[in-house]
């Protein structure tokens, strides 16, 4: 990695990255659990992915180990694939129950 970028990342202390990632992840979790709009839930999922990506990049820079950043690309790729599936489900959901409220999907119960 370019030494300049590493230096730029290292301007901010590691603890700040950790706290920011933690906050982003928590917001994502809270959104997934408490919101009913499926689009928001999908967006919150993305938020969690990206908080993890941020943390990985930060650790990678501080440890001077590029492997974590390779991993970030994988996560992005998988997230993209996951979004297509999620959006497809969303479209089907809109067609079938004419709503994007997850609580409409409650027929699968014991």
């Amino acid at each position: 990695m370019d030494q300049g970028i590493i230096t730029a990342i290292r301007i901010v202390p590691l603890e700040h990255y950790i706290v920011l990632s933690f906050l982003l992840f928590s917001i994502g979790v809270a959104g997934v659990v408490f919101r009913r709009n499926t689009i928001i839930i999908l967006m919150c999922l993305e938020l969690m992915f990206n908080s993890v990506n941020l943390l990985l990049t930060a650790f990678s820079a501080y440890h001077s180990d590029p492997r974590a950043q390779v991993f970030v690309f994988f996560i992005m790729l998988v997230a993209a694939a996951e979004v297509t599936v999620g959006l497809a489900i969303l479209v089907m959901m809109k067609r079938n129950v004419d709503s994007v409220d997850v609580n409409q999907l409650n027929r699968l119960k014991g």
Binding site: V29, F34, R36, L105, N106, K109, G110
Partner: protein
């Protein structure tokens, strides 16, 4: 041709036939299937003859190894064939008689729609029987042993739509299994003792002392196996019922070949039996008892095939008597001549049944000698051969066994002579009732086709001249069969007959005179008979007991079947109903009840599930963190 390859071809040809016929059984006609089966078994016969002609008796025999079969630890059992005097003799009988009976079956089964299946099973049987006699170790023999049992079961129950026939097939199978267990145990004991199952190695090693308990146990177990397959007391009751199968099956399996498997097994392991005189005594007396009991039952049977079946059991008894005296070659000689005349008699009976459109009751026959001449003449030849009229094949073989019996003890000779006279009596009763007097049935008898009569004629000739195979010195012969069999490696200890010529002449004369007297007696009683004695209920007690087959079937039913049935019923009503059913149902109901509680968690609310998942993950995370 390479003779090893030839030896392998002998059993493989019928196997190929069985596979082809089984695969194409719906496409082939009865005649084509029959011709193919006959051609294959006849090729086996030709191969056997070539092997026989090329066989050098002075070498004692050789082993043809096909492949290493089981080779684990100290256990080495190859898939190999043994070619020696004994296996060659049996191969010639199995393939020779087998070819004739296959040929006969073409005519007999021509209008049966499952005829190709029949021929497939007949070919499979020939394969199994050849494996049995050619195997170079006990295990290969055992494969054939089980194979012939299976084919016997299939063929007895060939007409499976009749429940009686199925019952007869199951009975034969179960009775044979009892014997098979004996054979397995015998094999295990031998393996434990010698560490191998190869005949040649065991016979070389078995030189130990007499009356070794292990040897007695092993030979007794082998003998139990032999009683099952060869229908001796107490396991003979399946054979008369086995007559449910088509008549060629009775001739091939239940008279000429399979039932001699027990005798073959004992001759094969004769060295072991020589080390266990106790077992030999048991064989001797079992054989005598079987010969007499079966012959007595034969006196009162009214089914043409049942008479022949009991006669088979009785003749097998004679063979066991010979084995019990160590006269192994005499037993094999009787096996051979018996194969000729008993196959002839069964096929003749089949021809009679065929002529009368399926009638088997001799009370509804009579006076047939004019209408089915070839069958009559050949059946007549068979009858005088089994009765032991002078110079017939049965005369030489049975007299040989009886002479050995006299050498052992005059009492035994008396018993055997009595049995022989019973044989003569019931065979001539059968002959007179079927062919003499006036016709008592309603069908229109017609002679059978050539495919059926030609085997009859060939077998009739063999029944007459079969005695030449082992012509005794008394008649200017040199007992060629005995000398041939003695070249087999196992056969070094055959008993010799050491009676003076005059004694033998007296015994033969006595037998002959009594046989002729019996024939005259039977002629007087049955030749002009128009009606037969009435129901069994009118007979005096002892006669009724014999007519009801000594009530052996009833005895076994009371001893085994009914207690077993009682046990099963009671286990069902107590253990099954009161214990198993509640326990099994309880397990299922408990699972359902727990499910009813837990299922309430499945609300179907996505947010709730996600929340639950989150808490679950947090809990696992905490556990992981705290446990370190």
């Amino acid at each position: 041709m390479n003779s090893d390859l030839l030896a392998i071809l002998v059993p493989v040809l019928p196997l190929v036939g069985a596979i082809i016929l089984a695969a194409m059984r719906r496409k082939l006609s009865a005649t084509i299937a029959g011709s193919l089966a006959t051609a294959l078994i006849a090729s086996s016969f030709v191969a056997s003859i070539v092997l026989f002609l090329g066989f050098d008796a002075s070498t004692g025999g050789r082993t043809v190894q096909i492949l290493d079969w089981i080779n684990v630890g100290g256990m080495n059992i190859p898939l190999a064939l043994r070619i020696d005097a004994l296996s060659l003799t049996m191969m010639l009988i199995v393939t020779g008689i087998g070819s004739l009976i296959h040929l006969y079956s073409i005519g007999y089964m021509h209008d049966d729609e499952r005829a190709p299946t029949f021929f497939a099973q007949l070919n499979l049987f020939s394969f199994a029987m050849l494996m049995l006699v050619m195997g170079s170790n006990f295990l290969i023999t055992f494969i054939g042993w089980e194979g012939v049992g299976l084919c016997s079961y299939l063929l007895i129950g060939f007409w499976y739509t009749k429940p009686d026939y199925n019952y007869a097939a199951r009975k034969a199978f179960v009775m044979n299994r009892i014997g098979d267990v004996g054979m397995v145990l015998g094999m295990v004991l031998l393996f434990q003792r010698f560490g191998t199952l190869e005949y040649a190695s065991i016979m070389d090693m078995a030189t130990g002392g007499m009356d070794d308990p292990l040897m007695i146990a092993a030979t007794l177990f082998l003998f139990i196996g032999a009683t099952g397959k060869s229908a001796q007391l107490p396991l003979f009751t399946w054979l008369p019922d086995a007559m449910a199968g088509p008549t060629p099956v009775s001739a091939l399996i239940h008279a000429a070949t399979m039932v001699t498997a027990g005798i073959f097994l004992i001759v094969r392991s004769s060295v072991l039996f020589e080390l266990a005189p106790f077992t030999k005594d048991i064989i001797l007396w079992t054989g005598t008892a079987t010969a007499l009991i079966a012959a007595s039952v034969g006196l009162f049977q009214n089914d043409i095939k049942k008479v022949l079946a009991y006669s088979t059991v009785s003749q097998l008894g004679y063979m066991f008597v010979a084995l019990g005296m160590g006269a192994y070659s005499a037993a094999m000689f009787h096996v051979t001549t018996h194969a000729f005349f008993k196959a002839l008699l069964f096929l003749g009976a089949g021809s009679v049944i065929h002529a009368l459109g399926g009638e088997q009751d001799i009370r509804k026959m009579g006076g047939l000698k004019g209408s089915i001449k070839i069958t009559f003449i050949t059946f007549f030849v068979g009858t005088i051969a089994i009765s032991g009229l002078p110079l017939m094949s049965g005369f030489f073989s049975k007299d040989l066994i009886m002479a050995y019996g006299f050498q052992r003890s005059p009492v035994l000779f008396g018993l055997l002579l009595f049995g022989a006279l019973l044989t003569t009596f019931y065979m001539f009763r059968l002959l007179f009732l079927v062919f003499y007097g006036t016709y008592r049935g309603k069908a229109h008898p017609h002679e059978s086709p050539l495919t059926m009569t030609v085997p009859l004629m060939i077998l009739a000739v063999l029944s007459v001249i079969g005695g030449l195979l082992d012509l005794p010195h008394l008649f200017g012969g040199h007992e060629p069969m005995k000398h041939f069999l003695e070249t087999a490696a196992e056969a070094i200890r055959y008993e010799n007959l050491e009676l003076s010529a005059s004694t033998e002449w007296v015994l033969m004369g006595l037998t002959t005179v009594l046989v002729f007297a019996t024939i005259a007696f039977a002629f007087g009683r049955f030749a002009k008979r128009t009606t037969l004695e009435g129901a069994e209920a009118d007979m005096p007690f002892f006669k009724r007991l014999i007519a009801q087959r000594w009530r052996l079937d009833e005895l076994y039913a009371a001893l085994f079947e009914r207690p077993y049935g009682w046990l099963s019923t009671h286990l069902f009503s107590t253990v099954e109903r009161r214990l198993m059913v509640p326990v099994m149902n309880g397990v299922g109901e408990a699972a359902l009840a727990m499910g009813a509680v837990v299922r309430k968690l499945q609300t179907g609310n996505t947010s709730f599930h996600l929340l639950a998942m989150l808490f679950g993950m947090i809990i696992f995370l905490l556990i992981t963190l705290l446990s370190n």
